[in-house]
């Protein structure tokens, strides 16, 4: 069974005659354990698609199933974790309390929560920062806390909306590698929105290329780079070939519309 199954999804913002077609005829199936990147120019609806999968917004029509259930029900069941471009940590909570937030909501006992938060902070290499407040951490560290929070309740699906978009290139590449290690360890299915071609190629099992106005899927490119991937992966000829392929697919989408 697919983790995410999207069929004939459209999303229209606004009312006629000032309508914007954000998404048009989206069909996509995401299998367990996949790492899917959604890539495309600004306004291609990739963040909108991510939000529809998470039932943060509803599609105008079409069907979205998460783990075989309608998206709203999957959200009620807390079947996904989400990471935004900004870390969205609560300033008034310490690092460990931020990670524990979903566990608190789900009614775990304090000792269960603390143990789980420590485990998660170890996973994102932030052991020792439990009692710090978010403002005491750098941007990259804050985003790692945000990932730890999203994974804390062990969701089968992780939605990530340009999580490293605000970080510098060096931090970004390091976090890319860390994210792959986490993905390998947790076996979570990940849907990842990005602007960056090398990031999409490095991380993904498949890259979904989208075009703007109206937002459509123009191509789905399987990434056959060997696992596990590390910094050396970025030097492989195959890596460059795939980067070129994605870039051309993006350009194709551009020229097709206009």
């Amino acid at each position: 069974m697919s983790v995410v199954s999207i069929s004939s999804v459209n999303k229209v913002f606004g009312k006629a005659p000032n309508q914007t077609i954000a998404l048009q005829d989206i069909n996509l199936a995401i299998e367990p354990g996949e790492f899917i990147s959604l890539i495309g120019p600004s306004g291609c609806g990739k963040s909108t698609l991510l939000r529809i999968i998470g039932d943060l917004i509803s599609p105008s029509n079409g069907v979205v199933l998460v783990n075989g259930k309608p998206a709203p029900q999957a959200r009620e069941n807390r079947e996904y974790g989400i990471v935004f471009q900004a870390p969205v940590l609560f300033d008034w909570r310490t690092v460990e309390k931020n990670v524990q937030l979903p566990l608190e909501i789900m009614g775990q006992t304090p000792s269960e929560r603390a143990a789980r938060a420590n485990e998660m902070l170890e996973l994102v290499e932030l052991t020792g920062f439990q009692k710090h407040y978010p403002y005491q951490l750098s941007g990259g560290m804050q985003q790692r806390v945000s990932i730890a929070r999203a994974l804390s309740f062990n969701p089968p699906l992780l939605l990530m909306d340009e999580p490293f978009g605000a970080l510098d290139e060096i931090t970004r590449e390091r976090l890319n590698a860390e994210l792959l290690a986490i993905w390998a360890r947790t076996q979570t299915t990940i849907v990842f929105v990005t602007h960056s071609i090398p990031e999409a190629v490095f991380l993904s099992t498949r890259v979904v290329v989208m075009s703007a106005r109206p937002g459509r899927i123009t191509e789905i490119i399987p990434i056959d780079l060997p696992q596990p991937r590390d910094m050396a992966t970025r030097e492989l000829p195959r890596f460059y070939a795939l980067v070129t392929q994605v870039r051309e697919a993006l350009r194709g989408g551009e020229s097709a519309k206009g």
Binding site: L56, F84, A86, V88, F90, I105
Partner: protein, 281 residues
């Protein structure tokens, strides 16, 4: 939410004793110029009054004010307690109502959108003009008439600020809570209320000043001789200006004390907020 502050953990791992000593010295250095200017102004004032032979009913010398103050210290303290009670009582009523209305309307967009413009309009009305009316309603010698004035004055800034704090929330934080499928009530408790605390403390600061102004000015329109405002006007009417000035000192002490109390409370309650933690740098 958390801003990407460049200051990282490594800055904060100095030995604590070191940082306290440095910050103590820095604090002295920070406040010294202010204290010096304060003393200089007092000396200049004293010198001018004596040198130019300014009549005491125009401007009494600081030494004369201090004499009057120390001479009737017990009475001054009583004036302070009397009017301070009015200011504090009215402050508590006004702020409690402001917070209550704001919390009650935070869930209903229409209620909020109808009430907020009214509150903003009411906030620009010089509410102190209602003081004689309140004195009439609740009795001029009744402390509650002054509390009522203070409550009305503090209600609007409190409600406006609190409503902002409850509604100006990072949209992503609301999406996050939605992803957890939690109730509106839980979102209020986990996101909106903590987010509103800095706004609330700002309103407390504004309202502390307003409360004292409201109480003293309310007393200008009548009250017993235990009240600061009444004492100031009566002494002034009999040309004992040094006494009026002594009472003004009490009003200043009350105002500053009230403010500092709120700042102390703020540091205790929201140590994570930028307005508070800045002093640590």
């Amino acid at each position: 939410m958390a801003s990407p502050v460049e200051k990282t953990y490594s800055d904060r791992q100095k030995a604590p004793s070191d940082t306290t000593r440095v910050s103590w010295l820095e604090r002295v250095r920070y406040y010294l110029p202010t204290a010096l200017i304060f003393v200089a102004v007092l000396l200049l004032w004293e010198g001018l009054v004596r040198g130019l032979d300014i009549k005491q009913f125009i401007l009494p010398a600081p030494s004369a004010i201090l004499d009057a103050f120390m001479g009737s210290l017990a009475q001054m303290v009583n004036l302070g307690i009397y009017t301070g009670t009015e200011a504090l009582g009215g402050f508590i009523i006004g702020c409690a109502l402001g917070i209550g209305v704001s919390l009650a309307t935070s869930r209903w967009t229409t209620a909020r959108e109808t009430l907020l413009p009214l509150a903003i309009a009411a906030n620009s009305v010089p509410i102190i003009a209602f003081a004689p009316v309140m004195n009439n309603w609740f009795g001029v010698s009744n402390q509650f008439s002054k509390m009522a004035i203070v409550a009305v004055i503090t209600f609007f800034p409190m409600m406006i600020n609190m409503t902002r704090g409850l509604t100006l929330v990072d949209p992503s934080a609301l999406e996050l809570m939605r992803s957890y499928a939690v109730s509106e009530w839980k979102t209020l408790r986990e996101v909106r209320i903590p987010n509103s605390l800095p706004y609330m403390f700002n309103a407390f600061k504004v309202c502390s000043t307003l409360a004292l102004i409201g109480a003293v000015v309310g007393e200008f329109f009548g009250g017993t001789r235990d009240a600061l405002g009444v004492y100031i006007t009566q002494e002034a009417a009999q040309f004992r200006f040094q006494n009026s000035w002594a009472a003004i000192i009490i009003a200043c002490i009350l105002g500053i004390g009230f403010y500092l109390l709120i700042v102390a409370l703020e540091r205790l309650v929201i140590p994570w907020h930028a307005s508070v933690r800045k002093t640590e740098e």
